[in-house]
Symmetry: C2
Subunit: 213 residues, 2 copies
């Protein structure tokens, strides 16, 4: 996969056929990955001819990148909005964000899977692109939120803020990835209840697993 399409590109309004193709492709690419899905299959799912796909998209890779691009911008925009509209104590804001983030992952499962695939198997230059164009804004906003909490004494000041961000996200993403497997392991009732997982994980992260003296 080559570069992520530049955001300053002229975005034409897609025709009805094109939208049907994009929607069908998103479902298929997300659930089985780029290589396992054929253009034939996409055409059938979209209810158009295979040649019609090549009329709207120059080749398979271009179609995939278009699917990926819209997934990225949708998800990213949604989370950014959430982060901006926040108010109140930092801890509560973090709690709301984390809950919203996990719910958003589960609700937009397809986009999330697409993006994660890129994170994991993309090249090094692609990792940089993703960091800057997709995750950069959200990450920095979380960072400043946490620094604000530290400045006000709501959070410990002797911890790297980025580490807190990472642990918050790690829990959510692990839950998203693994809850199907977790359910089959012992004593994991929370695996069926994302909100409950969020509550317990946040409580744990706030107070630690050591008894308070």
């Amino acid at each position: 996969m080559s570069n992520l399409p530049s955001p300053a590109r002229p975005v034409l309004v897609p025709s009805e056929g094109a939208r049907a193709i994009l929607a069908a492709a998103e479902v298929l690419f997300a659930s089985r990955g780029y290589d396992a899905v054929s253009m034939n299959e996409i055409a059938q799912a979209a209810g158009v001819s295979k040649a019609n796909i090549f009329h709207h998209f120059s080749n398979k890779k271009a179609l995939y990148l278009e699917v990926l691009r819209t997934a990225c911008s949708n998800d990213s925009a949604e989370l950014l909005r959430e982060l901006e509209q926040q108010s109140g104590p930092v801890i509560e804001r973090l709690q709301r964000f984390v809950a919203h983030h996990l719910a958003s992952l589960l609700r937009n499962e397809r986009s999330a899977r697409l993006i994660q695939r890129e994170v994991r198997q993309g090249s090094d230059s692609r990792a940089k692109e993703l960091a800057q164009q997709v995750f950069g804004d959200n990450f920095m906003r979380l960072l400043t939120l946490i620094k604000a909490g530290q400045a006000q004494g709501e959070l410990r000041a002797d911890v790297e803020p980025a580490l807190i961000v990472v642990l918050l996200l790690a829990g959510n993403i692990f839950f998203f990835d693994a809850h199907r497997v977790l359910r089959h392991l012992p004593e994991t009732s929370f695996a069926n209840d994302p909100a409950d997982f969020n509550r317990q994980a946040m409580e744990l992260l706030l107070h630690g697993i050591k008894p308070q003296n």
Copy 2:
């Protein structure tokens, strides 16, 4: 993908050619996934003819499952050994395990990626198989370790033990998946130093991110 091969299967010693094929296939499947890799490619990488692969393995899926099976048993065995040889205070044992686990993920990057792919895109019945046959033992051992810590007062008793296990693993797996991307985000010096990440993350998980009053 059908069932994981039964562990009680008669394991014949593989010939030299078969081992070369398995090794080449592991590299390719791990880095690009099942569908993106062709038998032609594997043959070239292994330095044998394509027909020879079909002599040793009945078809592509069988080859893939064999690769996966050895990856699972190797990784799982290594971690089980680590957990069994442990002694000392529970917190220190957890710390050693977590460090060992992350190092093992990074060292055996290929096996880890193969197994993770199965966790993420496998069917529901496959998720159950993985939970029981691959992760079950390690998970339960960690569980009893944490319960021991709670019983002795080393750890808070009012937290679900499985949740602690999940958060420990989540940090490691997130680091493993995302450190390439993390490196390009601001203030993430720990992204280049797994041991440092482990230290800081464990400290945070032990004491929490709230100031101790």
